[in-house]
Amino acid sequence: MTTHAITLNVNGRQREATVPARLLLSDCLRHTLGLPGTHVGCEHGVCGACTVVMDGRAVRSCLTFAVQADGSRLTTIEGLANGAQLHPIQEAFWEEHGLQCGFCTPGMLMAAHELLSRNPDPSDDEIREAISGNLCRCTGYTYIVNAIRSAAAKLRAPAPASAA
């Protein structure tokens, strides 16, 4: 079968892979590049668990072929935390109980990440709209909306001054 050599910038690192055309980006991230944080739920574009940010925009990695992403810049769930330091969106999900089983969480976080990168102070309606393509079967969404609202506030706050 014909394969294609691709180069991706994933979470700031240049990665190279040789992929068959039919390899989905979600499977490339998980199996070829060893980044299993991106979850696959429905694998036909309904559940949103596989959402990643590609060139600044949230996309469904199960509806994109890896070969199509050649040359693009990707952020996955693995790219949010800085070492052991959680990203403010992750902190907020923790504090506000924005997850239970955690299966949808990577997609929720990436959808929230894209929203807050273009809208630092979203209304609850805008938050609900931004996660409308992400299914969660545990939480009833209320705590997720709370978490994203809280994350927005954290990200807007000026960096804490060092103690005198």
Binding site: P20, A21, R22, L23, R60, C62, L63, Q68, G133, N134
Partner: protein, 283 residues
């Protein structure tokens, strides 16, 4: 792996796409956003032998005005058409309907032209294109032809596009001053495909309807205009009794498919409500 194997081409010009399409190969599909196509490939409902990826073609993502038309190129993403101030100002019906189209991540990648080519019978944009009288620009090595929306949508997932043609642009008439637009839809969840929807354009003069376009989707194998209802309502006074009457005529004019969740009779009743609601809410 989910999809069946296929050959992959990523040409860098429209000419190169047309050359590939001109080779006799019924199994070739163009992929732009892929938000419907890859779904169907993952489920193996579609198994094209070759994909032509047009995402790297330059200068096809435009949304611009030319005279009394708005021109939207093959790579304009739903998200950009939805956010376009030009579309909001010149094509208010399309802007209104975009509130109902899919979800953010799908709109980020899906394209208007791809959606029109896919011709899902429950999709919003074919109905909008019909109501507005949009024109599709199809190009092949044999030349370019323009097809009216009324002739473009031919059946379920079926359009007038020939195997060697590519939809390079859709042309939307700029709404005349004073024309009102209305849109109403019911779906399982907002952003899902419609159970039924109604898109209307209406001009009112001295309290009477002088021009009317009504298009519905979710009503059978394709989106449709309802010319019998349009004609019956033209000249009537623009009031709630007329809108209710239009809804009743629309209900009787459609023959939707039914399924377990949404029997045909229910969809007909939805059409009645939605046409009435779209007319009453037109601004």
């Amino acid at each position: 792996m989910k999809p069946a194997p296929f050959a992959y081409e990523r040409p860098s010009s429209v000419g190169a796409v047309l050359d590939l399409l001109a080779q006799d190969d019924e199994g070739t599909k163009i992929i732009a956003g892929g938000q419907s196509l890859v779904t169907m490939m993952n489920l193996r409902l579609a198994r094209p032998g070759r994909l032509i990826d047009i995402n790297r073609l330059p200068d096809l993502d435009y949304i611009r005005r030319e005279g009394d038309e708005v021109l939207i190129g093959a790579l304009a993403r739903h998200a950009d058409v939805k956010a376009s101030a030009l579309v909001a100002q010149c094509c208010p019906l399309m802007h209104m309907a975009y509130e109902w189209v899919a979800h953010g991540a799908v709109r980020n990648r899906g394209t208007l032209c791809g959606n029109l080519c896919h011709a899902d019978p429950a999709s919003e944009m074919p109905a909008v294109a019909l109501a507005m009288g949009a024109t599709m620009v199809l190009r092949s090595r044999r030349g370019e032809r323009r097809v009216a929306a009324a002739d473009f949508f031919q059946g379920m997932y079926t359009t007038a596009t020939r195997a060697d043609e590519m939809l390079v642009e859709v042309r939307l008439p700029v709404a005349p001053a004073g024309q009102k637009a209305g849109f109403a839809e019911v779906s399982m969840r907002k952003g899902d495909f419609a159970w039924a929807l109604a898109a209307v354009l209406m001009t009112v003069s001295d309290g009477r309807i002088t021009q009317l376009a009504i298009a519905c989707a979710g009503v059978g194998d394709r989106a449709r205009r309802l010319p019998s209802v349009e004609q019956a309502m033209t000249g009537q006074s623009a009031d709630s009794a007329t809108y209710a009457r239009a809804g009743e005529l629309a209900r009787d004019a459609v023959s939707p498919f039914g399924d377990a969740a949404t029997p045909a009779e229910y969809r007909k009743d939805l059409v009645r409500s939605l046409v009435e609601r779209a007319l009453a809410g037109a601004v």
